[in-house]
C-alpha cells in the first residue's frame, strides 16, 4: 500500500528564515512525487514535481529514495508562502492513476 506522511501539521517561521516541510513516503514501485499548495481562498494546485527537478517560487524538493523522503525546502521564506502544503504520491489503483496525499502542513510565515 502507498502512504505519505507529513509529520508536522503546522510550521511557523519568521520571514527570511529557511523552511523545510517534511514528507516521507511508502511505495513499493518507482515513486512519482509532487508537492501541492493551497493558498487561502484558492483551489489546490501543483507546486512542483520531482521528475522536473525544478524550482518554483524559490522552493525545491529532492527525492531521496534511501530515506524515502521528498522534503520541500526554501532558503528564505516570504509572507506570501503562507499556505497549506500537501505532499502527494502518484500510483495506481484498480481504476488506473491515483494520488495519495499526506496530511498536509500549514506553513505560517510571520513578518
Amino acid at each position: 500500500a502507498q502512504r505519505v506522511t507529513q509529520p508536522e501539521k503546522l510550521l511557523s517561521v519568521f520571514k527570511g528564515a529557511p523552511v523545510e516541510l517534511k514528507c516521507n513516503y511508502s511505495y513499493s514501485g518507482s515513486p512519482e512525487l509532487f508537492w501541492y499548495v493551497q493558498y487561502s481562498r484558492q483551489r489546490l494546485q501543483l507546486l512542483l514535481r520531482h521528475i522536473s527537478r525544478e524550482s518554483i517560487k524559490g522552493f525545491t524538493a529532492d527525492l531521496n529514495k534511501g530515506e524515502t523522503s521528498f522534503h520541500l525546502k526554501k532558503p528564505f521564506a516570504q509572507e506570501e508562502d503562507s499556505a497549506m502544503y500537501y505532499c502527494a504520491l502518484g500510483g495506481y489503483n484498480n481504476a488506473g492513476n491515483m494520488l495519495t496525499f499526506g496530511g498536509g502542513t500549514r506553513l505560517m510565515v510571520k513578518p
Binding site: 501541492y36 489546490l44 494546485q45 481504476a95 488506473g96 492513476n97 491515483m98 494520488l99 496525499f101
Partner: protein
C-alpha cells in the same frame, strides 16, 4: 492544463437528504476523481470515475452512499446520500492530465454542512 468548474460551492442540507455535486471540465479526460477533505484532515480519495464504466470506490466508501455518474468525458456528478452531520466536509473534484508524470487539477470544492 484543465479548468474545472464545480458546483455548488457550498450548501447547507438537512439530515436524511442528499446533495449532488457537479463537476465540469473544459477538456476531455479519461479519469475523474472525487475527494473528501474533512475539517483539519487531508484529502481522502472517495472514488475514481471513468467514462463508460462504474466508478471504482476506495476502502470505506460505497456506491449506495456516494453514487457517481460519468455520462461523458467532461462531466461527472457525486451524490452524497442520506446525509448525517458526519458528512459535513469539503468535496473536491479532480482530473489528471494524460501523461505519466500526471498533474492533477482540482475544482474549487463544495463545502457541505449537514444540520
Amino acid at each position: 492544463s484543465a479548468v474545472i468548474s464545480q458546483k455548488p460551492s457550498r450548501d447547507i442540507c438537512q439530515r436524511g437528504t442528499s446533495l449532488t455535486i457537479q463537476c465540469q471540465v473544459d477538456s476531455q479526460v479519461t479519469m475523474m476523481f472525487w475527494y473528501r477533505q474533512q475539517p483539519g484532515q487531508s484529502l481522502t480519495l472517495i472514488a475514481t470515475a471513468n467514462q463508460g464504466s462504474e466508478a471504482t470506490y476506495e476502502s470505506g466508501f460505497v456506491i449506495d452512499k456516494f453514487p457517481i455518474s460519468r455520462p461523458n468525458l467532461t462531466f461527472s456528478t457525486l451524490t452524497v446520500s442520506n446525509l448525517s452531520p458526519e458528512d459535513s466536509s469539503i468535496y473536491l473534484c479532480s482530473v489528471v492530465t494524460p501523461s505519466r508524470s500526471a498533474e492533477a487539477f482540482f475544482g474549487q470544492g463544495t463545502r457541505l454542512t449537514v444540520v
